[in-house]
């Protein structure tokens, strides 16, 4: 899949994963790379940027195994942003799917 494509969608993936629960970095990276082939390291610049833009807050939590982990939590602002992105995404994918369906039928 096209690289630019994936990078734009990565933001949406991270936001979606944090919608229901707070997660730590490694967990987010694993969840995404289970589904999409990415260089795992590229998630961290994204997490950092979204945190600085106020979409996430972070906190440290002790873990039963090993040192404490940095958890990411969605802010209200982040939730609104996720809503906007999801709406855009649905419109976009519906449009593309429609075109694909029509294209395939014509052939």
């Amino acid at each position: 899949m096209n690289v630019q494509f994936k990078k734009g969608v990565l933001e949406l993936c991270v936001l979606v994963l944090l919608d229901k629960q707070d997660r730590y970095g490694y967990e987010l990276v694993q969840k995404i790379s289970d589904q999409i082939a990415i260089s795992e390291g590229s998630v961290y610049p994204l997490l950092r940027r979204l945190t600085k833009e106020g979409y996430f807050t972070t906190y440290l939590k002790e873990s039963s195994e090993g040192p404490s982990r940095k958890y990411y939590a969605l802010t209200e602002e982040g939730r609104t942003y996720l809503g906007d992105l999801l709406t855009d995404w649905e419109k976009f994918t519906n449009g593309v799917n429609q075109l694909i369906k029509e294209g395939v039928r014509d052939e």
Binding site: K7, E11, E27, I38, S39, S42, R49, G66, K70
Partner: protein, 186 residues
């Protein structure tokens, strides 16, 4: 590449960032390695999954430079941000440097024209001092007219510069978001 090598490479690539910022970034990767190890992966596997520390660091630096521009839009900060975004990949050399040189050209020539026009009466009078015989009222008034025009151009350029600058910073932000960034099968 093991954990130490990965972190050392990253630290090296981040050395121009302030130490608090750098330490914060490195800490996230230390944690990533620790969690990965506790789940039974080897340091080498984890490092391989993360991808190039150099590329990740470049992206971190570019984001940081753009934040700096948003804090203080000095020429130095803008140039550093442009440089960092260009460094993200060869592709950016074309799509960032090209527009940047073009915009810088427009801004420079606009200001040069405005200032040149504003200075016309002074230059004209200087000329008259040296060669008094060429003095003509029409020329003086025309020079004053150009000076007025120059003031309008300068005021216009003030807004154009600010507007172009904001637009370009947005474009840089878009670049950091969308272009390259250590994806597999790039």
């Amino acid at each position: 590449m093991n954990k130490e090598q990965f972190l050392a490479k990253m630290n090296d690539a981040l050395k121009r960032l302030p130490s608090t910022e750098r330490e914060d970034i490195l800490q996230d990767f230390r944690e990533h390695f620790e969690v990965g190890l506790s789940e039974g992966n080897s340091e080498e596997e984890i490092a391989k999954g993360l991808g190039s520390p150099h590329q990740i660091a470049k992206e971190m630096v570019a984001s940081y430079r753009l934040e700096q521009v948003e804090e203080s839009a000095s020429t130095g900060n803008v140039l550093r941000a442009v440089w960092a975004v260009i460094g993200l990949g060869f592709f950016n050399l074309v799509i960032v440097l090209g527009p940047f040189v073009a915009l810088a050209g427009i801004v420079f020539s606009g200001w040069a024209a405005g200032l040149g026009f504003i200075l016309t009466p002074i230059l004209y009078l200087l000329n008259v001092v040296i060669y008094p015989e060429i003095f003509a009222w029409f020329d003086l008034f025309f020079a004053l007219f150009l000076s007025g025009l120059g003031i309008f151009i300068a005021i216009g350029m003030f807004y154009v510069t600010r507007w172009l600058f904001k637009g370009f910073v947005k474009y840089l932000n878009f670049n950091v978001r969308m272009v390259k960034g250590g994806m597999k099968h790039a």
